[in-house]
């Protein structure tokens, strides 16, 4: 059974792919890694809260396809500048899918 922490980790992996692409923009190296660090921390904190609060770990059926789609979107990105935009956008969209505040 898929859980919110497992889905969050899929997004964390996707963010890693965005970072690898975005690193081509030398001037933004620090910003890229700082962005990744704070958003990964936020996603993992949300996932941990869900685990501790859930009496029933089952997730809404629409969430997994949403995460599949967001990960697929990352797979389409080839431009490093677009990747930097998505390092901020992807976690926000993920949190919306989880039913959390997007920030």
């Amino acid at each position: 059974m898929t859980t919110i922490p497992a889905l969050a980790e899929r997004i964390v992996d996707a963010m890693g792919r965005l970072v690898a692409l975005a690193e081509a923009v030398d001037d933004e190296w620090t910003y890229i890694h700082d962005l990744e660090a704070v958003w990964v921390a936020r996603l993992r904190a949300v996932a941990a809260e869900r685990v501790s609060e859930a009496a029933d770990p089952a997730i809404e059926p629409a969430i997994e396809p949403a995460i599949d789609q967001l990960v697929a979107e990352v797979g389409l990105i080839t431009d490093p500048h677009r990747a930097i935009d998505w390092l901020s956008t992807l976690p926000q969209a993920t949190l919306v899918a989880f039913g959390e505040e997007a920030w």
């Binding site: 396809p65 697929a72 979107e73 956008t89 926000q92 899918a97 505040e101 920030w103």
Partner: protein, 230 residues
């Protein structure tokens, strides 16, 4: 301190055409009353590669359909935002970028118009101070009220926050104060505050006198509290 229209150079003329595009006004009208989650949808689609609307409906299940528990009105608005955002995304990379900036400016202006009279609201203005060389870059939006002026710089994403931007906003505030005037500089960013703070954390340019409005607090421009996520 006085305000002046920006020079109508070639860039300004081209950009004015984009600002006047009906799609910019339509998008701004939709985002004006949108929920925070709908604004994230707009940001994702206008930043995205996929132009298939169904893919975005799947990616944002809470904004479309019964699973979301959304009202008919909010689903209708989500659909309208999706359609308009895809229209922007389909304009091609360079034009898309210009449209996104113009949309942030237009929605800023619309929200401000709920709080201040329309006749004091202007865009693409320079601010002049005695004995100070004028900045070349105009302010995106200004509220020109004597004794309570406001100057807005609008950015699509946190990455747009640069030392130049912060210095220009703070310099305007400081020069106004030197003349005994009050000028509130505001940075509006269509991105999460968390990302803006990451960007700002390593900047040494002054920012304490500049207000930051991010995607989750846009409604404060209108003098209203941000709505709950939906």
């Amino acid at each position: 301190m006085r305000f002046q229209d920006a020079a109508r150079d070639a860039r300004a003329v081209v950009y004015a055409g984009i600002q006047a595009d009906a799609l910019v006004a339509r998008m701004a009208a939709l985002l004006d009353d949108a929920t925070p989650s709908q604004r994230v949808l707009a940001r994702a689609v206008m930043n995205g590669e996929t132009t298939d609307p169904e893919s975005w409906r799947v990616a944002f299940p809470r904004l479309f359909g019964r699973a979301a528990g959304s009202s008919e009105v909010s689903v209708e608005r989500s659909e309208a935002i999706l359609e308009a955002s895809l229209a922007v995304a389909n304009r091609g990379e360079q034009v898309r970028s210009q449209f996104r900036g113009a949309i942030v400016e237009a929605v800023t202006e619309r929200l401000l118009a709920r709080r201040v009279p329309v006749d004091v609201l202007r865009h693409e203005r320079r601010i002049l101070f005695d004995g100070v060389t004028a900045e070349i870059h105009p302010y995106d939006v200004t509220v020109e009220v004597p004794g309570a002026a406001e100057a807005y710089d609008c950015k699509w994403g946190a990455r747009g926050i640069s030392p130049d931007v912060l210095h220009q906003l703070d310099d305007a505030r400081a020069h106004a104060a030197e003349e005994g005037e009050r000028l509130l500089p505001v940075l509006v960013v269509f991105d999460a505050r968390r990302s803006c703070e990451v960007r700002l954390a390593r900047q040494t340019a002054p920012r304490t006198g500049t207000r930051l409005v991010s995607i989750e607090t846009l409604d404060r421009l209108a003098g209203r509290r941000s709505v709950a996520p939906a």
